[in-house]
Symmetry: C2
Subunit: 351 residues, 2 copies
């Protein structure tokens, strides 16, 4: 069985979904994608691990990058796919094999696109950032990702979502003195001290800010708390983990300083950091894209790989089939109409 | 090798310490204690599981119960015992094989005590209350524990500690609404809500109260907190575990009501409860004991098995060799002098 890129789009979509490709197990799907794309002489195909990159080289004035990841989160007894009315259910239907199927169909169909196109199908997106193959490719072959504009086909309900917010996490620990709880006055309770930190968080007023015409809402939230040694011991430590989601107008220094200011008097340990991405919607190529797909852009709140393109100087937007709220859900699904909407929009823009 | 109850007290103590008896593994020590006590015709010996009870039946006007547990917490590479100057180190030296050795020596020596005596050596004290053999004995044979006064030979530094405080634990959970942390406004953060509970605890003023001449200091403390689903999810629950240590003038209803009042507006789930014990020092037999041991009593803060005797109507005090602060410690130890002090006091009282 091989993938038929020029036949019925829904059939292609279900074939892609039914090739199981949980992160780390993408090889079979990558092989199928590789083989299918090599059948088209207008595409030059590179295989790097389980990442497949197909590109046109027509000497156009501009180059567009269109990307989607091949992997999914683990199954929830939700394969093979099944159709109910206008919805197709199954692991990966929302995140993001609809985008993959649309990109494959367009890559095959657009023999002479009006802009050169680089189609990227990559692996290990649903796991740690260091394993994400785009991390490796952007380090070893940044030229493969080069372009004037990028479209990441993550699920957006077939709307354009511009840029993305940044995210960082840190821990803050209160310390006390352990003692038997029957003699509490010999110790100092670190959990009690954490109350004051939580009060600061509860009273925090997150900023709402416009960046290049899109509205971003920030958020500063405790995502974990833990403390306690035993049921009869005054706890000597309590650790709070906080996640700050910040608009793309903040750079790293500013984002860290903002957290430190909120928790003045405490030491913060930053555990991860990912810069946001400006939507880049002020550029003509982005405006042309918006006109072609016939919509208005809204802000993307979750962090996505658009930030990688942004960091390489390539403005990027999210645009793909399916409701992002269904990503990773047991009842993950994609409306058939979204597949057609996205394909038609890309063809309109690039033909 | 058998235990020599009439020889050197320190030799007996080290022999008892060197028979490893972590909770659940008391059989060998119980066998040795059983065998050694049966050699004395003035004692009637009962064996029940790994509990050994030896008693005199001389028709005296009063009966005294003297008790100690045979088990220890797990080793910390601290056996066999070793002596450094006046201190003997090893697992169980403080909690509470000093008390056991003193009781064994006195049981052997007091062939004609001035009060009838019940010597109790029991198992499974360092584990859940339901496993403690005194729980079984007090349910199935409460008559074996009957008496006019009880001395529990837990470590007190050879001072008399009267009664004990009660202890209870409960959890209180704040609930929120889970959401992706990039869209925090769609959820409600349960960890942030816990701040207000911690503020109540931090501001709590524990009571200091006199009960029958002894001063007790209460305490209300968080001993654990946990919350959080994942680093990118607004937590929908945060659970706080609180330990209330209360003076023996509060009964169960009053202790629970006090906790409910502090956390008014929240539902509390009580997970364990142990009533305190009044010191009973207003009784003549207790006063005679104090005079004989030549000291003043102070309050016991930690919960001990004296509460079981108190619940059976037997006033009870704690009195045994070693610093209670060394109980369970890796450098657990007992001063040799404490062994002699406690033995001499018991002999003075009962001879």
């Amino acid at each position: 069985m091989s993938l038929d890129l020029t036949g019925d789009l829904v059939t292609l979509f279900r074939a892609v979904v039914d090739i199981e490709s949980v992160s780390g197990g993408e090889t079979r799907l990558a092989d199928e994608v590789d083989t299918a794309l090599r059948a088209f002489p207008h595409l030059r195909v590179i295989r790097d691990g389980d990442t497949v990159i197909a590109s046109t080289h027509l000497g156009r004035a501009e180059r567009v990058v269109i990307a989607g990841h091949l992997d999914t989160v683990p199954l929830a007894a939700n394969l093979p796919s099944r159709q109910e009315g206008d919805l197709i259910y199954g692991r990966g239907t929302a995140d993001m094999k609809g985008g993959v199927a649309v990109a494959l169909a367009c890559a095959a169909e657009l023999g002479e696109p009006n802009r050169d196109v680089t189609w990227i199908f990559y692996d290990h997106e649903e796991v740690a950032a260091e394993e994400n193959s785009l991390t490796r490719v952007s380090r070893e072959h940044p030229e493969w990702l080069a372009g004037d504009f990028a479209v990441l086909m993550e699920p957006t309900g077939a709307k354009v979502e511009g840029g993305c917010q940044g995210t960082l996490r840190f821990t803050v620990t209160t310390t006390g003195v352990a003692a038997h709880s029957a003699r509490a006055w010999l110790g100092h309770n670190a959990i009690h001290d954490a109350g004051e930190l939580l009060t600061r968080l509860a009273g925090y007023e997150p900023r709402t800010v416009e960046v290049e015409g899109l509205t971003y809402r920030e958020g500063m939230n405790a995502v974990a708390i833990s403390g306690g040694i035993a049921g009869n011991v005054i706890p000597d430590a309590c650790t709070l983990t906080v996640n700050f989601r910040f608009a793309p107008d903040r750079d790293e220094a500013e984002a860290l300083a903002h957290c430190r200011e909120l928790f003045e008097g405490h030491e913060l340990t930053f555990i991860d950091f990912a810069l946001g991405a400006r939507p880049g919607l002020d550029r003509p190529i982005a405006q042309e894209f918006l006109t072609a797909v016939g919509g208005r852009a809204r802000a993307k709140y979750g962090w996505t790989d658009v930030a990688r393109f942004s960091a390489l100087g390539v403005p990027a937007v999210n645009f793909g089939p399916a409701d992002p709220g269904k990503a990773h859900a047991d009842d993950e699904c994609c409306p058939v109409a979204d597949l057609h909407t996205c394909r038609d929009a890309l063809l309109r823009w690039l033909r």
